[in-house]
Amino acid sequence: MRRLRFAVLVALALASAFCRQDMQDQPKYKNLRGSAFFDDKRSARPVVEDTVARGSLWQDDRFTTGKADGKLVAALPVPLTRELLERGRDRYGIYCTPCHGLTGNGMGMVVQRGFRQPPSFEIDRLREVPVGYFFDVMSHGFGAMPDYAAQIPTADRWAIAAYLRALQLSQRTTIADVPASARPALESPDAPAKAAPLPVDVDDWRRAVDEGPTEPPEREH
């Protein structure tokens, strides 16, 4: 009798090792897991109307809408720093290059596969728009361009807007605009493309973003 019981226990233990137990698939929601409770089968619920999610309270209209008194802002609502521009460059590379291309000329890969070609960021019309315009296009889309409000958080959209100004500047920059101290790094044949120093100094950009430039900044050497 004992032995039989033991054999049964061993058999059960072995058999249970093959089972997937309850702890494997617990009755709880993990991200994007389907739901049998809600009609639309989503466990991720949309924000309830007339409520504000934690951390997304609109405190500064200039920051969240890019507008002040109904007009697009001409100055950045966030402090312009080197980190902001680098963040902008990084985000631009992720979200905008598929269509606008690395230099902003509008010849990204998706455009080469048949998407409508956007204008180059270098054209005068876009050089003259206030910086809030870029933010607005990203937040609401423009013509054939989709909006990026869901993919890019507000602060990152400002970083991209700041970087677009820099990108515009860089397209009309000559070697003479580069501070003498930074030139050797650019001219050496093995200057790594990624780590190359930003070609113009941050103060120029700061001015450019605040004032909305039409000319590349003057430099004396």
Partner: protein, 219 residues
């Protein structure tokens, strides 16, 4: 009375007592082998998806960054699967008649979700977090393989506990510079041991003791 068994059965029974040890060992081995086989772990098996979404096209050929779609991978535990809107960014205009994309357009029209089949699926009692791995220089490629060559995603590692631990015991063998976390086909610029040790110090990777504590992953 004549003997029922021939003398030779004596040897036979001795051999089978001896052989039983091997037989049981074989059964145990078989059990372990099945348990670790792709049949159980699902390693390397591509799932059938509602849309034939190809990373090979989108990442390999067009060069879209992972974060364009997997938006939260840098800042959250969950990497995020893109909503239909993300596909429509491009497919409202291009390939907008393709029958392959009909489920996407239908989802866009009706507001119903596309039901992707989960490929990487840890048991619910395991805690995993993408953001820490991305921040400390573990590449997508290290865990997910050459996604840019996969027409359909299949699971690259076994996802067994030993796989996680192999790295948590010696992260210097795998980590890469942060700029290269999203790069596919990364080749270390030098000897991995040296680079790994340097980065380990630079990124302040915690000691093995802490990374292999049970509560790191079971909490």
């Amino acid at each position: 009375m004549a003997q029922i068994f021939h003398r030779s059965t004596n040897t036979l029974s001795r051999v089978s007592v001896f052989g039983a040890v091997f037989f049981i060992a074989f059964l145990l081995w078989l059990f372990d082998a099945v348990n670790r086989s792709p049949y159980i772990t699902q390693q390397g098996i591509a799932r059938v998806q509602p849309v034939q979404f190809s990373h090979q096209h989108h990442v390999g050929a067009i060069g879209i960054d992972c974060r364009y779609c997997h938006t939260s991978v840098e800042k959250a535990a969950f990497a995020n699967i893109p909503p239909t809107k993300t596909c429509m960014n491009c497919h409202a205009q291009i390939w907008n008649q393709s029958p392959e994309l009909e489920p996407v357009r239908e989802s866009w029209r009706t507001g119903r979700s596309i039901e992707w089949v989960k490929v990487y699926d840890l048991p619910d009692y395991v805690y995993f977090n993408h953001s820490i791995h991305v921040a400390k220089g573990v590449g997508c490629e290290t865990c997910h393989g050459r996604i840019d060559r996969m027409p359909l995603v299949s699971q690259h590692p076994s996802l067994e506990m030993s796989w996680c631990l192999d790295c948590h015991r010696a992260p210097e063998k795998y980590i890469r510079p942060r700029e290269d976390v999203f790069t596919m086909g990364y080749v270390p610029a030098g000897r991995q041991e040296e680079i790994g040790e340097k980065l380990k110090a630079e990124y302040h990777i915690r000691p093995t003791r802490e990374l292999t504590d049970c509560w790191t992953c079971h909490r």
